[in-house]
Assembly symmetry: C2
């Protein structure tokens, strides 16, 4: 007998907050909540608080029997092992057997992946990639992440760590130092922090050029400040977006040579910059594409509402739990 | 009723020769032959000659009912459309509906893909990738090609043209002109022709350095000459292999960030150089890998006997024809 359960749960473990929600089959979040990720030094205490909060939500809509599964998106979440492995931005060090601990505590099947993979599953289930079998989601936030779908399935790779496209090397000489310890990674240029860094470099290197960005302390400049200045017509700020988009476009042209996707979908902070970022990406990608791929690849923005996207993405994994 | 047919046919359409064979389930080529690819200006006449030659072979082992399918590897062969599309090295221009024409003529199901994809299926069926679900075959011949396997399936992409890893950009400024019309492609450096070009550049740029390669006309130097000189202890020739392998290793590190494969398998001409090419690849790849991938990725040589590899690879596709 197949029991068609009406709900899945999505949990997004972020560096600061962990947000969660009960989601129905149409992608509506019908109950949601959040807790502080960093409150507990021990992962056991965190799982206790999270499970307690979920129990409360579940009781408001029905019983545990109506939940198909819990999908969790977390930094360095490994789908194959069910563990969070060496996540630099979380308090719990080493390998955390998240799925095992969570299932034991709450009695519902749990699946785990990283946040970019969760975003890709979310786009496929509820967003811009409905009906697509080959696409790539690129998340442009504090870092650059990616979730790759081939033949309708997420690419996890041999070890569960496929899709680290923020760490392909875009500049092989004099490349910027990346958080990963290497130099020249895409992430060092095209994340929100990379974009702010470009702005600071431009301000430093062109002392005689006027810019609205000079009205604030240079160390405090964020991607949002650059965005506001660019919208306001600031030439230097617009150039910063141009440079950031060009490098992304170069990288996307190489990604296409790998999996020839129907679309590349932008997700996260910088995606909110709209045409400021999309236009240079598109021009640079087309310029750099091998002939057989030209004018074929769709460039899209995520269609998940931003505040819900992480929970929806994780919940989409919850439907697939076995 | 499932009829378990004992044979598949592999056809490899090369720029000069088209070789073919009847293959049994153990990967033994039991009958084989070849014809000249360039003899016929009309594709129809080529298909006639090829089909006639296959009919003769089939009659020697039994009947058409015993052939599961015909797999064809050809330049720019598209698995989805069954067409050879704009192949620069073949006489037949534009889009050639190869599968349709061949099936009509010979009455056996036919499937088509490009030669590097055929090589990947061959390694998975009979070679170094038996039992693997995630790996990449890189072919190092006149060009650089690739066949990517994810979750046990070949990655064809949205349009059938995935896996053009010879055309990722390795040098973004002052890159070498590639046959594709762009500059800085992996293929321009790390194909057999790219390697010979490196040798010519070194000879030109270092007029005072001694090398066995100076004993022949510089335009005539081939990868084989560089290989022979390197085996003979020639320092410049060894450096040429070092440089070629380093760029391949840099590229492989980026490929790993995409699909996190169990192995990368070298196939074709340059793979015969053994440690001369493998050692610099391995060192450079490990140096360039993101930490989470270090010391995990196997680098292997093809285990298909070279003279048979193309036919075996194509025949492996023949088993999968529906």
């Amino acid at each position: 007998m197949i029991i068609d359960k009406p709900y899945a749960i999505g949990v997004d473990v972020g560096g600061t907050n962990t947000v969660f929600g009960i989601v129905d089959k149409r992608g509506q979040i019908i109950k949601s909540g959040s807790i502080k990720t960093g409150k507990h030094a021990e992962i056991k205490d965190f799982i206790d608080e999270l499970s307690g909060a979920l129990d409360t939500l579940i009781n408001q809509v029905g019983t545990k029997d109506e939940i198909k599964g819990i999908g969790v998106g977390a930094p360095n979440g490994n789908f194959f092992t069910g563990s969070i492995e060496f996540a630099p931005n979380l308090r719990w060090k080493g390998v955390i057997p998240f799925v095992e601990m969570m299932e034991e505590r709450i009695g519902i099947p749990v699946a785990l992946t990283n946040d970019a993979n969760a975003a890709a599953i979310g786009e496929m289930t509820y967003g811009a990639a409905i009906g697509m079998k080959d696409f790539i989601v690129v998340t442009l936030g504090t870092g650059v992440g990616s979730g790759i779908v081939v033949n309708g399935k997420l690419v996890y790779g041999h070890d569960g760590f496929a899709g680290e496209l923020g760490h392909v090397i875009m500049r092989r000489s004099n490349g910027r130092l990346c958080g990963c310890g290497r130099t020249g990674c895409l992430e060092a240029y095209s994340s929100a922090t990379g974009l702010a860094r470009t702005a600071r470099e431009y301000l430093d290197m062109r002392p005689n050029e006027n810019s609205k960005l000079r009205t604030m302390p240079i160390e405090d400049i964020t991607s949002k400040d650059v965005f506001d200045a660019a919208l306001d017509g600031d030439e230097m700020a617009k150039e910063v977006f141009q440079f950031t988009g060009e490098i992304l476009g170069e990288a996307f042209a190489d990604f296409v040579a790998f999996s020839s996707p129907e679309a590349i979908i932008l997700f996260g902070g910088l995606a909110n910059a709209g045409d400021l970022i999309m236009k240079p990406i598109r021009e640079s990608m087309e310029k750099n594409l091998l002939n057989i791929y030209k004018n074929k690849i769709k460039l899209l923005f995520s269609e998940l509402k931003e505040s819900d996207a992480a929970v929806l993405g994780a919940s989409a994994l919850g439907w697939e739990v076995k």
